[in-house]
Amino acid sequence: MLDLEFMRLAFAVGAIVGVLAPAVGFFLVQRRQSLVGDGIGHVAFAGVAAGYLLHISPVLTALVASVLGAVAIELLRTRGRAAGDQALAIVFYTGIALGVVLVSSAGALNVNLFQYLFGSILTVTRGDLVLVAALGGVALIALAASYRALVSVTLDEEAARVQGLPVAALNVLVAIMAATTVALSMRIVGILLVAALMVLPVIAAGRVAWSMFSTLVIAVGIGLVSVLVGLTTSYYADLPPGGTIVLFAAGSFLLCSVVDAVRRRS
């Protein structure tokens, strides 16, 4: 399997995404913003469509659209007096509507749009890998560096504000990282499933973890294993990679719940 260039690329990109998605998703789940990744995914769809229309790399346009969408959600939430889910709904539906309109004007409703919606392992290019490695690396470093500050905001946003932490900037940072993750993960798991990889491993980890930090570490482990096992399975069983990966992540939730239940009994 690894003799094939496209599989090596898929695994390399998948490994980065498998680590990054739960790491960023961790902070979304802690803030009860589990669905934000999904909202950003729908905006990314509009970005992909714009890429087709303008004949530039859909990954790049998706990245730009996701960042704009994520920051819009954050600003609507904090400044616009819109409740969290209302902000999400506004951006979510605008994104998908814009996407549909753009896609049809680009005459791209037929082409390989499917691969962006559900992911594909055949289409990862060397260029994709370079982009994913570079941006993913930056995002992971930013995350590691700001971990304690982000945890502090998560635990008590108001106390963090009183202490003089740059709360608004940290919230925007999370939004931008979530957007980057969505755009980078899109090629492997697809727009419709990317959010699942950000959220499911974290929820699963929460069942068995004993601290904030252990939750993060276990979630990253689950994400990575889900991607690697999912890609392998999808290769041998000829299944769509996004769906397969997410099913493994969902399976990990079941597994962790069982472990938790057994532990509580004893």
Binding site: V29, G164, L165, A209
Partner: protein, 239 residues
């Protein structure tokens, strides 16, 4: 005397609501230990929020360390324990993680906690008697023990201004007593300025120099022994 907190003719109403505070003047000097009491809904929490710059006064001005409260540059010197503090987030969070968050503004904002900061965190945990439970998830502790973890979080900041909103709710008498002694020590030895909101400030009564009663405004401000008899139960809602 340099002021830690100053409110000048402050009035405040929550967005479109009735006035909660009216004509409040309050000056707290550096190193003062002030108890704040008053009936439920009297505006104690609101007063603290205005002091800390979390709410903007409708009229009048609020300053912290002689700067406008909302734009105070010495925030890392302030620790605030909100009434009914709770740890946000879904993941299990340990006592040590909560207390470490309190150390954040004082230590480096990014990267690892320094060794010296970890020592301070462990000291704060020991102060509230939670050393044996430091690695336990907060949600597995009793309400009073959780409250003590939040007190430790505030202490870990090594603040110059410590603002506590009913920190002893759900805390047993022995722990209230030891918190009172701890506050007296912080105040006496380190000169920490303390604003302490409580209904039952019996435990700190012997340490505070000043009591402020809040009921839509400040209705009493003076030494504890000057309190009108009527107010000796400060949770009293009688006019």
């Amino acid at each position: 005397m340099s002021l830690a907190v100053e409110l000048r003719d402050v009035s405040f109403a929550y967005h479109g609501g009735p006035p909660v505070l009216e004509g409040v003047d309050l000056a707290v000097g550096l190193g003062e230990f002030v108890a704040i009491a008053g009936p439920n809904g009297g505006g104690k929490t609101t007063l603290l929020r205005v002091v800390l710059g979390l709410e903007q006064p409708t009229s009048g001005s609020a300053s912290l360390f002689c700067e406008p409260a909302a734009r105070c540059s010495r925030r890392s010197a302030i620790a605030y324990l909100a009434q009914r503090a709770q740890a946000g987030g879904e993941a299990p969070v340990t006592v040590r993680e909560v207390v470490s968050a309190g150390r954040l503004a004082a230590g480096p904002l990014f990267g690892q906690l320094r060794r010296s900061d970890r020592v301070i965190v462990d000291e704060a945990i020991a102060r509230v008697g939670l050393t044996a439970s430091a690695a336990r998830p907060l949600r597995t502790l009793s309400g009073g023990m959780q409250q003590r973890a939040f007190i430790a979080k505030a202490l870990a900041a090594k603040p110059e201004l410590l603002v506590l909103d009913e920190p002893t709710t759900g805390v047993d008498a022995a722990s209230q007593e030891s918190l009172a002694e701890l506050l007296a020590e912080l105040h006496g030895e380190l000169g920490v300025t303390i604003l302490y909101v409580s209904h039952e400030f019996g435990a700190v009564e012997k340490f505070v120099q000043r009591v402020v009663l809040v009921r839509g405004g400040i209705v009493f401000d003076g030494a504890p022994h000057e309190l009108p008899g009527l107010w000796h139960d400060p949770s009293h809602s009688h006019a």
